[in-house]
């Protein structure tokens, strides 16, 4: 299991709620740090799959790296 760190441009609970929902559908373990606009995902899935999923929310997403 790898822990991936992403930057997601979230500004409110609605944004982080949207991220929560798309990730819940993907069935992965994750943590959202709203004040720092970070999302940590525990998954064996390819980072590009995770990136595409996060991008579905329509927000700016950047892959920071494994943690």
């Amino acid at each position: 299991m790898t822990k991936h760190e992403f930057f997601v441009d979230m500004t409110c609970e609605g944004c982080s709620g949207a991220v929560t929902r798309v990730l819940t559908k993907l069935d992965v373990k994750f943590d959202i740090d709203l004040p720092n606009k970070k999302v940590f995902i525990d998954s064996d899935k390819d980072k590009d799959v995770l990136l595409e999923t996060l991008k579905k929310t329509g927000k700016t997403v950047t892959y920071i790296g494994p943690k």
Binding site: C12, V22, G58, K59
Partner: protein
């Protein structure tokens, strides 16, 4: 030119940045002419080309983004 209007109820938006990402993402979809989302009314109004897309597809697209989206009963 054919044009349809879809009214979609959207729950889960709490700020303008939610509104903007929905408007931007949906207006980029094929067949969508305009997208207007109201935070206060929890509602999106989308003008679309019925030959290319359907209200149900638009609803699904909003839901894919992580929001709850409903089509009103009368809207078919």
């Amino acid at each position: 030119p054919l044009s349809g209007n879809a009214e979609i109820r959207i729950e889960g938006m709490t700020c303008n940045s939610c509104v903007q990402s929905i408007e931007e993402t949906i207006s980029k979809r094929k067949g969508v002419r305009s997208a207007k989302v109201s935070l206060a009314n929890h509602q999106g109004t989308f003008e679309y080309d019925p030959l290319v897309t359907t209200p149900e597809e638009l609803r699904g697209a909003v839901e894919d983004m992580g929001f709850d989206a409903f089509l009103p009963e009368s809207n078919s």
